[in-house]
């Protein structure tokens, strides 16, 4: 099955998205920005609809809109606890815009709605692979550059602020990273299930990892394993790949939950 070029593309796209999401999801949980990840996924729908309206590729529309929303959310909510309000306000505005785009495009748009909502990893083209590679590497390089102050500001924001760590700048950069990651992940699991790759790998990492590096490593491994196994199952049993990724990651999380419960008792 791996001899088919569409399977090779799916595998490469899946691996790139899994590695980036595995790293980013740890910070999503530490910074309690799960709502932002979910909201950016929903906003991607508006981005894709806007791109369709203007005749751009959907990834470009998602990237532009998500980045704009990320900057606004980052500026409004530089403290970890203030994020929800900022995200809620921006999400409402963008979803309203999305509803209008959908209204304008109700005839042409409906056909591609399913692939945007649930993703279609088997339809990833070589050009998209290059886009994913460039975006993924950019995210990882920027994360490496800011990881030390980002970890400090995420774990202990009040003390980090007292040490002159630039919380607002970090907040904007992190939301931009999240925006790019969400746009990438949407190609694989779609806007509705993007939450899965941005929450559960990090949650699995935190069930077992005791240090930040350990947690990130476990998170990446669980995301990669889920994507590879899901592609295999999806091909063999003709099931949707995004469904398989979701079920495998959820199963991994619940197994970890049960294991921790058994160890504790």
């Amino acid at each position: 099955m791996w001899a088919y070029s569409f399977m090779q593309n799916a595998l490469l796209a899946g691996l790139m998205v899994a590695v980036v999401c595995g790293v980013v999801s740890v910070f999503v949980i530490l910074r309690r920005t799960g709502f932002a990840a979910h909201a950016l996924g929903h906003m991607s729908l508006t981005g894709a609809a806007g791109a369709a309206l203007l005749g751009f590729p959907s990834l470009l529309g998602q990237l532009l809109l998500n980045s704009l929303a990320a900057v606004v959310m980052g500026l409004l909510g530089d403290k970890v606890k203030k994020n929800d309000l900022a995200v809620g306000v921006v999400l409402t505005f963008v979803l309203g815009l999305g509803a209008y785009f959908l209204f304008l495009f109700q005839n042409n748009y409906a056909g591609s709605v399913m692939s945007i909502l649930f993703g279609n990893i088997f339809a990833v083209s070589s050009a998209q692979l290059w886009s994913l590679l460039i975006l993924g590497l950019s995210v990882l390089v920027v994360l490496m550059m800011i990881s030390r102050p980002l970890i400090f500001a995420s774990i202990d924001p009040v003390v980090a602020a007292s040490r002159n760590v630039p919380l607002r700048l970090l907040s904007v950069i992190f939301f931009l990273i999240l925006a790019v990651t969400v746009s990438m992940a949407c190609q694989v699991v779609g806007v509705l299930l993007v939450f899965v790759l941005l929450i559960i790998p990090g949650a699995i990492g935190m069930q077992c990892g005791e240090s930040i590096y350990g947690i990130v490593a476990l998170s990446v491994m669980s995301a990669v394993a889920a994507v590879v196994v899901a592609l295999y199952i999806s091909y063999q049993f003709d099931l949707p790949a995004s469904f398989c990724i979701t079920m495998l990651l959820c199963a991994g999380y619940f197994i970890g939950l049960i294991k921790n419960y058994v160890v504790k008792t």
Partner: protein
């Protein structure tokens, strides 16, 4: 170490009258006063988080906010977002030069220093345990070690004894005492239990409605009944 000249503190409006203060290097100072008298505002002003209403303040010869890498602040309320299994050691390590960009790298030298600090504050028995499972008193001693990891010249503690039972208070004070013996640094501590640590301090600053006064002994502020001398 700290010089205040006709300083007036406040948020948008003044909450203290103008005052002058001169605190020497490595002095350990207790800050006393009723709620809302300007004690925490004083610490936040020193960090540059709040602007002065008027007058000036210099810390180690610099304006507020310029040398925060040399000041460690333990706030009264804080938000810690550690994962369930992460320990106090992870919290301390994450703070080590946490303002520098790049990947965090925890060298042997840093780990040795952290181990020494953990011993100094008496947290050796539980520093490896998940932080979220620790008691309030145990967490506060981890915060002390965290505050020392960057070798500060000045330590600012805002109500560190609040919410601690008598036993935990004694452990915390013992840790402070050891720090006083082994580390060269200045300390400003706000506390409503000042009588319990007064014997370890060099002087006091009293924030009251009539002004801000520097006192060599705690007896000079005993007109405030709640100080409990």
């Amino acid at each position: 170490m700290i010089n205040c000249n006709n300083l007036i503190l406040g948020y948008d409006k003044a909450i203290t009258p103008a005052f002058n203060l001169a605190i020497n290097d490595n002095q350990w100072i207790g800050i006393i006063g009723k709620n809302g008298a300007g004690k925490s505002t004083f610490l936040k002003t020193m960090l540059g988080n709040l602007a002065v209403i008027s007058g000036s303040i210099k810390i180690l010869g610099q304006a507020p906010g310029k040398i925060n890498q040399l000041i460690s602040y333990i706030p009264q309320e804080r938000e810690i977002n550690l994962a369930d299994r992460m320990s106090g050691i992870s919290l301390i390590l994450s703070s080590a030069v946490g303002w520098r960009f790049g990947l965090p790298w925890y060298s042997h030298k840093l780990r040795r220093r952290v181990a020494e600090l953990i011993e100094l504050v008496g947290a050796g028995d539980y520093a490896h345990q998940p932080f979220n499972t620790l008691s309030g008193g145990q967490k506060k001693r981890i915060y002390l070690a965290q505050a020392l990891v960057n070798q500060p010249r000045l330590l600012l503690l805002d109500e560190p004894l609040a919410d601690l039972d008598p036993h935990a208070k004694q452990h915390f004070i013992a840790a402070l005492q050891k720090i006083h013996q082994h580390q060269k640094l200045g300390l400003l501590i706000i506390s409503h239990d000042m009588h319990e640590i007064a014997c370890h301090l060099d002087a006091f600053i009293h924030f009251s409605s009539t002004g801000v006064h520097f006192c060599e002994t705690i007896e000079c502020v005993k007109e405030d009944s709640y100080v409990g001398v």
